[in-house]
């Protein structure tokens, strides 16, 4: 039994809670898989430059996010990459699966056949990627989570307080971290991250430049 009223439908436009701030920062929005996505800001070269030299942050709230409950057998503390999705365990009985928006429906269907409880949290969580050599320094301005290599290796998954609110951080790649937090706090968290990143010479980047930078 699924809760379809939790899943954004392709019949209506879906928006990130950070859309207004992204627009104010000069974002170009594009509709992708039913979502308004901030794909670019001041252009790919400067945006890639940010990710290479300081820190770029990108709104990725459109990612599919599905919570499963029941024994999952995933090792705690790290995310597992499987079937083009990140499987992120919170407890031995609860995990969050992150996928591309277009894959959400298939994923939901597959999980529902396997786990006793499956709830779509796509709309419940906002997501920001912070990427670049100073990304860790940006995080140090608003979270006490230890992101050093020794504590959080690549693929490490760390639930904990970010900007004084509940959240989680996934180290997707060498210098690229995905942060999840409550959707209603999107506008607040944008302010927090932008303030920290800009004071270190960083700034917003579109998902296109991010994809190139992390490729």
């Amino acid at each position: 039994m699924s809760y379809e009223f939790l899943t954004p439908a392709p019949t209506a436009l879906a928006r990130s809670p950070m859309e207004r701030q992204a627009l104010a920062a000069g974002a170009r929005l594009e509709q992708r898989d039913g979502w308004n996505v901030a794909v670019a800001y001041d252009g790919e070269p400067p945006e890639r430059g940010r990710c290479a030299a300081t820190a770029g942050f990108a709104d990725r709230s459109h990612l599919g996010k599905v919570e499963l409950q029941g024994s999952h057998g995933l090792p705690l503390g790290q995310a597992t990459r499987r079937d083009d999705a990140w499987w992120c365990p919170f407890t031995p009985e609860k995990a969050l699966v992150l996928c591309e928006p277009a894959d959400t429906a298939t994923l939901l269907e597959r999980l529902e056949g396997t786990f006793p409880t499956v709830v779509d949290l796509t709309s419940a969580l906002a997501a920001l990627t912070i990427s670049g050599p100073l990304a860790r320094e940006v995080f140090a301005r608003f979270t006490a989570i230890d992101l050093r290599d020794s504590a959080t290796p690549v693929e490490g998954f760390r639930p904990g307080s970010v900007g004084r609110t509940p959240g989680a951080i996934l180290r997707e790649a060498g210098e690229s971290w995905l942060m999840l937090f409550g959707a209603a706090l999107g506008s607040y968290m944008w302010t927090v991250v932008a303030d920290a990143a800009e004071s270190l010479g960083g700034g917003p980047v579109g998902v296109d430049a991010l994809a190139v930078a992390n490729a």
């Binding site: 809760y3 009223f5 928006r15 900007g163 409550g182 706090l185």
Partner: protein, 957 residues
């Protein structure tokens, strides 16, 4: 001029001048100067006026330890001139002197002020008459204190922020020991942070002319990847978290091991006139000469109890300062420094110390002689000089260690407190651990750093063995420590003020008086006289105060003990502690739309909410007349799923949910085990195994935690998911709501097809929704819950469809009026922490016959069989005045028996309505109660059924 010829390793750049102002007058210093060194070089000797007596105070420690050079820089008070680097154009002002530093009218308190100034004189003198206290306070604040904060602060221009730094090892202090510790730990592979107070690491190495070694060690540490924080004092030790303040950043360092290499603090001696400008600590005089190339005086006298003072005398001589006489309290001893002094023919008095210092605006004359001598005793020498360099021994800087749990004991031979017990995870190195020489400090640092790294698993057996051998060498070398003479609490019995505490102007006599008055423990004396509580935090006064206390009470220093310096250990601006503002504000997905519609947005719990759209009364009327739309996304929302879901709810709520049919809704009030109301909301059964639970907006987080807590204890087969932020919600209500909804969905919206308390699932304007037909505001209403990503889409679709039919958005305020008309309670507004469902007039919600021992059952059983005192009722007022929420209810004109919890003017009903707690005897329709509201008496009529649509006919239609 006071500048010496260029000194080897000096910090100043003689080619580059820096100009700033002091009290409006231009001063020129050199690049690399501190404010203190530049002012001293320009001829200034008085830097501040003291706290109470307004005595002149000059440079003393030149290391940021004493309070003597506190100044105001660009409006910020409490800056230490002796460590603050000069910057072009900075505006420096003196503190605590009026009209000027050179002529201070309050100096009278020193000259004539006998009865004004004993300890506790504020408490004793200014208590009567009490009504004059505000006036006294104003005068006292003017007379005492340290600097003033500008009344009007321009918008903050400097940003401050927190930076979290995790590390394997934190080294506090960047002297020879600290640098060596950092190097040793980093060599073994540890991630190391080093924090040092000074502008460059090196500590005593720099002050004693060994700058080449300092720079060598610094470079080595940097090459090994040690993060070096300079001008960065550690402020305290909080359960392993050490805040390190570096200009606009507060580093919150969380390290697995901490090496304290905090050094030692040179101590003053107590004698009449010990605070005169020109009396300096020997280290301070040497620092002026070595680091800034300044002659601290033209003719110096040195008084010491150990080799430190002798070494200072040698250093001063080498830099061309005349040293008239050296008084060494020790009778014997022939250290290298002593030999050098002899060789150079310096006059040395053994077994002698300083008995008195005299001078008008600065030091002119000192008297040397055997300790304890009074006026005109044998063996006294009077000397003219303008510099007295004093060394009263050194006290290990153990304050940060004490904050982290270390203990100290008194060492008779050294005359100060030494570390006796270390907390887990902490190491000490260098002078704080008792290593006297710089060579030893380096060795003990290396041992501590490597030891800390080994504890964390770095290194190998070989490195362990090597460090173990070194450790033994370090311990053995302590036995050959140089001799120290322990000075008496006060060196002479001559008359005149001997200052034990420079910060708060406490004299030896004040401590004597406080003991006489019965404040005979160091903790009591600290609080009564405020000794050790000033800006120096005990650096200069702790040991002298303990010595005085021991002498006064006839006990040993070990028995007197020490006080613990509280954080911050180093003065820090409040702004640096505040960091950047974090104010997590939740916003609905439709927030931007409310803003565009001109909503008044206010805080509601941790949400920003539309309070109204400019006309709350018209908004409420629209709900009755056409239709209204309110954003209720702030409601807490939980999905409770599993075979035992019904069982869980039956255990958590006083009423029953396991028998609720799928697709139906029931209201629930949650109680604690004391039977008190905690929260309320509606619960919809989605299917056999799942329920959708809504909570109050402010209770969302607490209810989720309450559910999951009991679940962890009971271990039922249920899964919970908090979807509060995943689902946005709007309530569409009013006579035309059905028509508006029907135009956007295929769902049968008829009264029969979608009845009151039905829960349906359908697409509305292409958005998948859970629709709940409930009636919080009293009209036919539909609560639509849907993915928050579609917030703006659905809001726009509803407004577009409803606009032509008179749909109007309404805010929180009109909603409060509408629910009051229905007597729907607001938990926390109409109830408090003592309210039970019985008192709140909802006995029907408690099912005591349920088989489950539900939360609150036992307490509610007892409440049901007992007598209620007060109960919640509605009231109507003939008078048009709306009583304040909280106004008291007086049934017969005597003491209060209840209170008003909600009251509004209702345009729909044409009068004032409200809810109040009243005695049970008055809880019947038509009863009369008196409400007393800020002196006004109002006559109210009790109403027990909803004011609007009492039988719910409108609601169900």
């Amino acid at each position: 001029m006071t500048r010496l010829p260029p000194q080897d390793g000096e910090r100043v750049d003689r080619e580059r001048e820096v100009t700033f102002t002091f009290d409006g007058r231009e001063v020129t210093g050199l690049e690399g100067d501190t404010i203190g060194s530049a002012l001293f070089a320009s001829g200034r000797r008085t830097f501040s006026r003291s706290f109470k007596y307004h005595r002149r105070r000059g440079l003393m420690c030149c290391a940021g330890q004493c309070p003597n050079c506190l100044v105001q820089v660009d409006g910020a008070p409490g800056v230490r001139a002796c460590t603050e680097p000069v910057q072009e154009g900075m505006e420096v002002e003196h503190m605590n002197a009026r009209p000027s530093l050179e002529f201070d009218a309050m100096r009278a308190t020193d000259l004539f002020g006998g009865p004004f100034t004993p300890p506790g004189f504020y408490y004793k003198t200014f208590i009567r008459p009490r009504r004059l206290w505000p006036l006294y306070e104003k005068i006292l604040r003017h007379a005492a204190g340290l600097g003033k904060v500008p009344k009007e602060q321009a918008e903050r221009e400097w940003r401050t922020e927190y930076r979290r730094r995790h590390a394997d090892i934190l080294v506090v202090g960047g002297g020879a020991a600290g640098l060596s510790a950092a190097i040793a730990a980093a060599e073994l592979g540890a991630d190391v942070v080093l924090a040092d107070e000074g502008p460059e690491p090196g500590g005593r190495l720099l002050a004693e002319g060994n700058h080449a070694r300092a720079r060598e060690l610094t470079a080595r540490a940097r090459d090994l990847g040690v993060e070096l924080l300079t001008s960065a004092p550690a402020l305290g030790a909080f359960d392993g978290l050490v805040p390190v303040w570096e200009r606009d950043t507060l580093h919150q360092v969380r390290a697995q091991r901490i090496v304290y290499a905090t050094g030692a603090i040179e101590q003053p001696l107590l004698f009449p006139g010990n605070d005169l400008p020109g009396v300096m600590l020997s280290g301070g005089a040497v620092r002026l000469a070595t680091l800034y190339g300044i002659s601290p005086g033209s003719r110096a006298v040195v008084a010491t109890v150990d080799d430190r003072g002798l070494e200072a005398a040698v250093a001063l001589l080498a830099r061309g300062v005349e040293v008239a006489t050296v008084a060494d309290l020790r009778e014997h001893g022939n250290s290298d420094a002593m030999k050098q002094l002899m060789r150079q023919g310096v006059h040395v008095l053994r077994g002698a110390t300083v008995l008195q210092a005299e001078g008008r605006s600065s030091l002119q004359r000192v008297t040397l002689g055997p300790p304890g001598a009074g006026e005109g005793g044998a063996g006294e020498h009077e000397l003219t000089c303008d510099l007295l360099a004093v060394s009263g021994g050194s006290a290990p800087a153990t304050s940060l260690l004490a904050q982290s749990g270390a203990r100290t004991r008194y060492d008779e031979r050294l005359g100060h407190f030494v570390l006796s017990e270390m907390p887990e995870g902490a190491h000490a190195a260098g002078e704080v651990a008792g290593s006297g020489s710089l060579f030893e400090a380096e060795r003990s640092g290396a041992v501590a750093g490597a030891g800390a790294a080994h504890e964390l698993g770095f290194g190998d057996d070989e490195s362990r063995a090597r460090v173990e051998t070194e450790r033994k060498t370090v311990l053995n070398s302590r036995d050959g420590m140089p001799e120290v003479a322990v000075p008496p609490a006060v060196t002479s019995s001559r008359r005149g003020k001997c200052f034990a505490c420079l910060c708060e102007d406490v004299t030896a006599k004040d401590i004597h008086l406080s003991v006489e008055e019965g404040y005979d423990s160091i903790e009591l004396s600290k609080r009564y006289t405020t000794t050790t509580m000033g800006p120096c935090q005990g650096r200069m006064c702790q040991l002298p105060a303990v010595r005085l206390m021991a002498e006064e009470t006839g006990t040993s220093l070990a028995d007197v003990g020490t006080t613990t310096a509280r954080p911050p250990w180093h003065a820090v601006p409040m702004g640096a502690l505040a960091g950047r503002p974090f104010e997590p504000a939740k916003r609905s997905s439709m927030h931007a739309r409310h803003r565009e519609l001109g909503a008044n947005v206010l805080w509601a719990g941790d949400w920003r909410r539309a309070y109204d759209y400019g006309d709350p009364r018209a908004e409420a009327l629209a709900v009755h007349e056409t239709a209204g739309l309110i954003d209720v996304s702030t409601l807490g929302k939980l999905i409770v799923r599993g075979p035992d879901a019904g069982e869980l709810l039956d255990r958590l709520y006083p009423n029953r949910f396991s028998n609720l049919a799928p697709g139906r809704i029931r209201y629930g009030v949650m109680a604690s085990d004391a039977g008190r109301i905690m929260d309320d909301g509606t619960i919809c059964r989605l299917d056999d195994d799942s329920f959708y639970v809504t909570t109050t907006s402010s209770g969302a987080g607490a209810v989720y935690q309450w559910f999951s807590w009991w679940l962890a204890d009971w271990r039922l087969n249920v899964h919970l998911t908090d979807v509060t932020q995943g689902l946005s919600a709007v309530n569409l209500a009013g006579p035309r709501a059905r028509e508006i909804l029907a135009s956007l969905t295929d769902l049968d919206c008829s009264a029969e097809g979608f009845a009151y308390l039905d829960g349906k699932r359908a697409d509305v304007a292409g958005v998948p929704c859970l629709l709940l037909r409930i009636g919080f505001v009293g009209e036919v209403g539909y609560e639509l819950h849907f993915p928050s990503a579609h917030g703006e889409h659905l809001w726009d679709a509803l407004m577009e469809a409803g606009g032509p039919l008179g749909l109007r958005p309404f805010g929180l305020e009109p909603q409060r009026l509408l629910r009051l008309q229905k007597m729907h309670i607001l938990v926390g507004q109409d109830t408090d922490s003592e309210s039970t469902p019985f008192g709140a007039a909802m006995p029907w919600i408690v099912k005591l016959d349920k088989e489950q021992p539900f939360i609150g059952k036992w307490a509610l059983e007892k409440a049901a069989s007992g007598e209620l005192e007060t109960t919640l009722v509605g009231f109507r007022l003939a008078d048009g005045h709306v009583p304040t929420e909280g106004a008291v209810v007086l049934p017969d004109g005597d003491g209060p028996v209840g209170q008003v919890t909600s009251a509004r003017f209702s345009p729909q009903l044409g009068g004032v309505i409200g809810m109040a707690w009243v005695p049970v005897s008055l809880a019947k329709d038509g009863a009369s109660v008196t409400i007393s509201d800020e002196g006004r008496r109002l006559q109210a009529e009790v109403v027990t059924k909803p004011f609007y649509d009492p039988d719910g006919e409108v609601l169900r239609s």
